[in-house]
């Protein structure tokens, strides 16, 4: 993507904090779910993108969105929603591989950052 931004995504815990009603244990659990599940969904998404299986791309992108939203990774969630919409409506699907490559490379730091946030939360338990 010509306009592609290569910086990592920002994480905003305020939404999760809101849902968790301040429970650190709950927030840690949700971070764990994100850290465990997201790489697997990304693998599945990559496989579906590589085989131009747009139905699966739509389904997996839909599946990834909630945890991105919980972690307040708003920009990634928007891109994922766009991938889902394109895949579902068969609209400019040729753009999907580039969007996916971009989002994937920009997600690399997320796990380290979330682990750091998790440690801070654990320190408060």
């Amino acid at each position: 993507m010509a306009e592609g931004n290569n910086k990592g995504f920002e994480i905003d815990m305020s939404y999760l904090n809101d849902i968790a009603g301040g429970s650190e244990e709950f927030m840690i659990e949700m971070i764990d779910i994100f850290i465990e599940q997201t790489p697997l969904y990304f693998d599945q998404l990559e496989e579906a993108v590589n085989s131009s299986d747009w139905k699966s791309v739509g389904d997996v992108a839909h599946k990834i969105k909630p945890t991105l939203a919980f972690m307040g990774i708003e920009e990634a969630k928007e891109i994922m929603a766009d991938i889902e919409r394109k895949a579902r409506t068969d609209d400019n699907v040729s753009e999907i591989p580039g969007m996916f490559a971009n989002i994937k490379s920009r997600c690399e730091d997320l796990y380290d950052n979330l682990n750091r946030i998790k440690k801070e939360l654990e320190a408060n338990l």
Binding site: E36, Q37, L40, A48, A69
Partner: protein, 159 residues
């Protein structure tokens, strides 16, 4: 009590056993399973070297709100997923919220009804079995008429 329709899917290992285990955990944490469809088998998504998917829809009576249902589903997926494989290419268990009574929800983390429902034969067929006259709250059509308009030609077989 709200009625929530959950679509369960598995394409790895003892698939039927995972669906049973998931149903058990759903009963414990989401609510009583009021009805369950038969199991339906679908060829894996575009990938031929994987086992076929088995899907089932459960109708669950719940006192939880939709976000709480979602959170408990994420927990169940994580627990059952971790049970066997560190790294899997296939899905041990996949649970989607299709409908939550007749509510329409468009939140950052949650879209109900499931936006791909009407395009997926593996979702529509078991729903047709359970609730043919249920009215899709966005499309305002019965499951019966959605089934008639379905263009997804993946073969789905009741087992």
């Amino acid at each position: 009590m709200q009625e929530v329709y959950l679509l369960l899917g598995s394409n790895l290992g003892e698939r039927e056993e995972y669906l049973h285990k998931a149903a058990q955990l759903i009963t414990e944490r989401v609510g009583k399973v009021l009805q369950g469809s038969a199991f339906y088998q679908t060829a894996a998504w575009g990938i031929t070297d994987q086992p076929a998917y088995i899907n089932q829809i459960l109708l669950v009576g719940t006192e939880l709100d939709a976000s709480e249902v979602l959170i408990n589903i994420l927990r169940i997926e994580k627990e059952l997923g971790r049970e066997r494989f560190q790294k899997w290419e296939a899905r041990v268990i996949d649970i989607d919220i299709l409908f939550y009574s007749d509510l329409v929800i468009n939140e950052a983390h949650l879209t109900i009804p499931h936006p791909h429902f009407e395009e997926r034969r593996f979702a529509v067929e078991p729903m047709l079995e359970l609730a043919p006259d249920f009215i899709h709250p966005v499309l305002k059509k019965t499951i019966k008429s959605i089934a008639l308009e379905l263009t997804d030609n993946l073969s789905v077989e009741r087992i």
